[in-house]
């Protein structure tokens, strides 16, 4: 069971993403994404909204399927910038890995 953490969204801002909560989960991005893969990218965006850090880290590799093609950002009806959200999550995960490498 994922536990909601309302602080995570603020943490993501340090990685250049401030539109996480603008997403209203319509799924347009997942429908247009050429990956056609497990509700990507909405699934990741949803976990970010919930602040389900564990879920994101468990499935972190999925983030790198993204082509940065920008179709989702173009079509998102809420201007939630899903493509940039995926990039922001990549940055957060990379930072997490780097921290772990240094320990």
């Amino acid at each position: 069971m994922a536990t909601i953490s309302t602080q995570f969204v603020e943490e993501l801002e340090h990685y250049g993403v401030d539109t996480t909560m603008d997403c209203f989960n319509c799924g347009t991005c997942a429908a247009i994404c050429p990956l056609i893969y497990e509700h990507f990218p909405r699934r990741m965006i949803r976990y970010a909204q919930l602040g389900a850090r564990e879920r994101i880290l468990e499935q972190a590799n999925d983030l790198w399927h993204c082509l940065h093609c920008g179709l989702c950002t173009l079509t998102c009806p809420r201007q939630a910038d899903p493509g940039e959200l995926i990039l922001g999550l990549r940055r957060l995960v990379v930072a997490e890995w780097r921290r772990a490498d240094h320990v």
């Binding site: 050429p34 590799n61 093609c69 179709l71 990549r90 930072a95 890995w97």
Partner: protein, 313 residues
């Protein structure tokens, strides 16, 4: 799929060491300009970002990666940093296809011809022509990207460069948008085809020209909204640009960006796009070395935009 962490670590280490992601020394990679006698003017520079030059290495790397994906060797990619001769550096240089290298050089020479015949005054300074770092940005290594970008931007600034003419979408986007957004760099960046000018087409050229289908790269079609320009140029030269499902802002990705992490997925997406393009029955026009390399894997006939334009130059 390869572990993104391993790939990122490998590429980041290469960029740090050699200022390009393949670890191939620039003096070996960037030789196309020799003998062209381009002036070393500083204010307006042709800037390749080494993407076309890198194409043969990308192709070599990905064909290896594709062979090993999901095999028991895949996890060892992480050690490539300690095996520079295999996946990076000199070894890669020697393995890469010579024909491909010649083709890349030809594309850049065509672009020079196009600019010259359009009356554009520009210079080229190989020592200032760096990789943009865009791959690190795309992969989420913002720190690595910024470190490299700062290095590049500083060099350009010190040399007094104010205007750049770019040749591929990735470098264009990096310099025009990302350098400005993250570093505040003030450079005037234009693609070569935005500057291209041809005298109006005289007479019927339909025997030399014909139908073509343009594959808009994501960065030009969507992010930079430039698709109108190549279309206009080609139409002006007498080509018939056959409309394709998904173009302009809605263009389909060629799948190329996924090739380092998941070559299989990249191939699937590429095949879907090639089908869309081939449904028109016309030869395909690409304008990005990544798209070009990826679409060609299908065996389809793909030519660079510069090839078409250079015919009129």
């Amino acid at each position: 799929m390869y572990s993104p962490k391993d790939i990122i670590d490998l590429l980041a280490a290469n960029v740090r060491r050699t200022r390009n992601p393949f670890g191939v020394p620039k003096r070996l990679m960037n030789r196309w300009w020799k003998g062209l006698e381009l002036p070393a003017r500083a204010d307006t520079l042709l800037y390749t970002g080494l993407m076309y030059q890198a194409a043969p290495y990308i192709e070599q790397t990905t064909s290896m990666l594709e062979r090993f994906e999901d095999s028991k060797w895949a996890p060892y990619i992480g050690y490539a940093r300690w095996m520079p001769n295999y996946l990076a550096g000199l070894g890669l240089y020697l393995m890469a296809d010579g024909k491909e290298k010649t083709r890349a050089a030809g594309t850049l020479k065509n672009i020079v011809r196009i600019l010259q015949s359009s009356g554009i005054r520009f210079g080229y300074r190989p020592e200032l022509d760096f990789y943009s770092g865009i791959l690190l940005y795309d992969l989420g290594d913002l720190d690595g990207f910024l470190e490299h970008a700062r290095f590049v931007a500083d060099r350009l600034q010190q040399a007094g460069v104010r205007r750049l003419i770019t040749v591929d979408p990735h470098t264009t986007y990096a310099l025009k948008v990302l350098y400005h957004k993250y570093l505040g760099t003030r450079l005037e960046v234009k693609t070569y085809f935005e500057l291209a000018q041809f005298p109006p087409a005289g007479g019927d050229r339909s025997d030399t020209t014909g139908p073509v289908v343009v594959h808009d790269p994501c960065f030009y079609g969507r992010y930079l909204e430039l698709s109108e320009v190549p279309n206009r140029l080609l139409t002006g030269l007498g080509y018939h640009c056959v409309p394709v499902r998904n173009s302009g802002p809605f263009t389909s990705c060629c799948g190329g960006p996924a090739e380092s992490i998941s070559p299989k997925q990249s191939r699937e997406i590429m095949q879907r796009r090639v089908e869309e393009l081939q449904a028109t029955g016309a030869p395909i026009v690409a304008m990005c070395p990544i798209c070009m390399g990826n679409l060609r894997k299908s065996g389809a006939q793909v030519e660079d935009l510069s090839t078409f334009l250079a015919r009129a130059a």
